[in-house]
């Protein structure tokens, strides 16, 4: 079995590696936060990931949520000092969770569970307690591409996909615009049935052929404001 350890504390990584070594399990690699974990999963294709919860940049719960988008996501065991409650709300995609310091017999139990189970890919599962993700995640040719939320300029819905337009390009994600609007209510503004724009990307309004368009920093695209959303959009822009 191929194992990845994700923890922001070097000594915590070291201890888990020691314990796994005692069980004859080799550690393929380590990562110090959720974002690195996703990169390492793409690179090392581990069968099993030990994931800490509280980490900088991207926490373990969010990383788990993104990993589920993979066709064959690695099996997941959460490992935490004191977050059981958060885990109970989010245990669907994990095989097991361990509390730190981890006991050897408890680890053995988790490993044998991991051998029996094969995780299934699925749709993203919302985070507990209405927490916001720090990244959006797209599946590009079987790999996951992460877009930091602060880089997102606007979200544009077409058919069943949403195009994420961000500072380095565009990707398609498979999430309803409505859910995105609710999750990131403080960051994006609905301007049309099919579009959300990032508040900090708004550069102003243009009028053209009877249409009102939003100008955006970081892209030449201008997006149409619907008649219905125009009063709110005006009010928000005034308040910026």
């Amino acid at each position: 079995m191929n194992v990845l350890i994700v923890d922001d504390e070097p000594l915590a990584q070291e201890r888990l590696a020691q314990l796994l070594g005692d069980e004859g399990v080799a550690v393929a690699g380590t990562a110090a936060n959720g974002r690195e974990a996703i990169d390492q999963v793409a690179r090392l294709k581990p069968d099993l990931v030990f994931m800490d919860i509280r980490m900088p940049v991207m926490d373990g719960l969010e990383a788990a949520q993104h990993l589920r988008l993979l066709e064959t996501p690695p099996r997941l065991i959460f490992c935490t000092a004191y977050d059981q409650h958060a885990l109970e709300a989010f245990d669907a995609s994990a095989i097991d969770y361990l509390v730190k310091p981890v006991r050897a017999d408890r680890l053995r139990e988790a490993l044998s569970k991991a051998e029996r189970f094969t995780a299934e890919g699925g749709t993203a599962q919302p985070l507990p307690d209405s927490e916001q993700r720090s990244h959006l995640c797209a599946r590009v040719r079987g790999n996951l591409e992460l877009i930091p939320l602060e880089d997102v300029i606007c979200l544009h819905a077409e058919h069943k996909y949403v195009t994420v337009i961000y500072s380095d390009g565009e990707v398609l994600i498979e999430e309803p615009l409505k859910a995105l609007e609710e999750e990131f209510a403080d960051r994006f503004l609905r301007i049309h049935r099919n579009a959300l724009v990032a508040l900090n990307a708004i550069a102003g309004l243009d009028r053209e052929d009877g249409q009102v368009l939003v100008k955006l920093h970081g892209t030449d695209r201008r997006l149409e404001v619907s008649r219905r959303n125009l009063p709110t959009v005006r009010k928000v822009i005034k308040g910026l």
Partner: protein, 354 residues
């Protein structure tokens, strides 16, 4: 793309939002009634009056209690509003409100009585004279009373804060996360570096001994700083190269006293809200010294831009209340915040522990 906002502000008054005494409480209203009666009695006994008539006493009492209860009702219902104002502004508003009520209350009572023709008040004195007299009297009594109730309120808040601090000693002061992560660190070190593991166990024991001690009695500043160093040593093990600490506190007067674990939460805040959320970590700068008749200590740490957590504020308010409780109004906690820097300074007058 993101706008940069630079913000630097002085810390607000201690315990904003609940400084105004609660005039809705029965015990407070009762003490007001007693106070009102006392003033009436003093007036009644005051020399210069011809004979002590019980009828006069009864009339004055009735009149006095009418005014006292009127003010109590008004201050009780105004409390949520007053609590939102800063202490000085709110006190002035409350004071003016009392004077206005007394003027109005007197005018209403005297006119009503004259209209009914009970002949309780002497008709030689004009209505205006009655009103002026009671307003002057109320101005003196209300000033003293407001100050008294304010101090009592502060004292109560101080007691609550310090007992809360004890209850939270294990939960918030030393967070469960900290305990279990430290245990995990030690478990990891035991195999590879038993000497360091031993040191960590000793440090952790010292911290818990302080956190579990039930006394709020003063410890020396030197002892408190040692505890802070022990705490930072444990965090250093946990965070590795991500944490650097610069100490420049040699001129702090170590024999000054302060309640135990007053400063440690500042270090914990710097770690949990400053260093830990950053992948690259950062440096906590600790400076301190004497400045005239005060000693001060400042902690500065980097922050992820825009990431402010409410937990930080709770801890700071708690420290602020404990400071006021132990050193009176002279001790301060000031926060200076920019987008990516957080700085907190505690400054305490020399030798004034209450």
């Amino acid at each position: 793309m993101s706008r940069s906002v630079s913000e630097s502000r002085k810390a607000p008054d201690p315990a904003p939002g609940r400084w105004f005494p609660n005039f809705c409480r029965t015990d407070v209203v009762f003490s007001l009634v007693v106070l009102g009666e006392l003033v009436v009695l003093i007036m009644w006994l005051a020399p210069g009056r011809d004979g002590l008539s019980l009828r006069d006493l009864a009339v004055s009492s009735l009149f006095g209690q009418w005014l006292v209860l009127l003010c109590a009702v008004a201050l009780c219902s105004l409390r949520p509003l007053l609590n939102r104002l800063p202490v000085l502004k709110g006190s002035v508003v409350a004071y003016l409100c009392i004077l206005l009520l007394v003027a109005g209350g007197t005018a209403v009572a005297v006119s009503a009585e004259r209209f009914a023709g009970f002949q309780l008040t002497s008709t030689d004195t004009s209505l205006a004279r009655y009103v002026t007299n009671s307003v002057i009297l109320a101005a003196l009594v209300a000033a003293a009373a407001l100050r008294y109730y304010y101090i009592q309120q502060q004292w109560r808040a101080g007691v609550e804060a310090s007992s809360e601090a004890q209850v939270r000693a294990l939960q918030a002061r030393i967070r469960p996360h900290f305990l279990f992560n430290s245990m995990n660190t030690i478990a990891s070190l035991i195999r590879t570096r038993p000497k360091v593991a031993e040191e960590a166990v000793l440090n952790l024991s010292d911290l818990f001994r302080a956190a579990l001690s039930r006394s709020e009695e003063s410890a020396s500043l030197a002892a408190e700083l040692t505890l802070c160093r022990r705490y930072m040593e444990i965090e250093q093990l946990r965070l590795g190269d991500r944490l650097a600490v610069n100490w420049d506190i040699d001129t702090l007067p170590g024999r000054e006293t302060l309640p135990p674990l007053l400063l440690q939460p500042l270090f914990e805040n710097a770690i949990y809200h400053g260093i830990q959320p950053r992948t690259e970590g950062g440096t906590v700068e600790v400076t301190g010294g004497r400045d005239g008749q005060r000693w001060w200590i400042t902690l500065r740490n980097p922050m992820i831009a825009g990431a402010r957590k409410p937990g930080n504020q709770i801890a700071l308010n708690n420290i602020r209340q404990r400071l006021t409780h132990h050193f009176g109004e002279g001790a301060t906690l000031a926060v200076q915040e920019t987008v990516d820097q957080f700085q907190v300074t505690v400054s305490v007058p020399l030798g004034v522990a209450l």
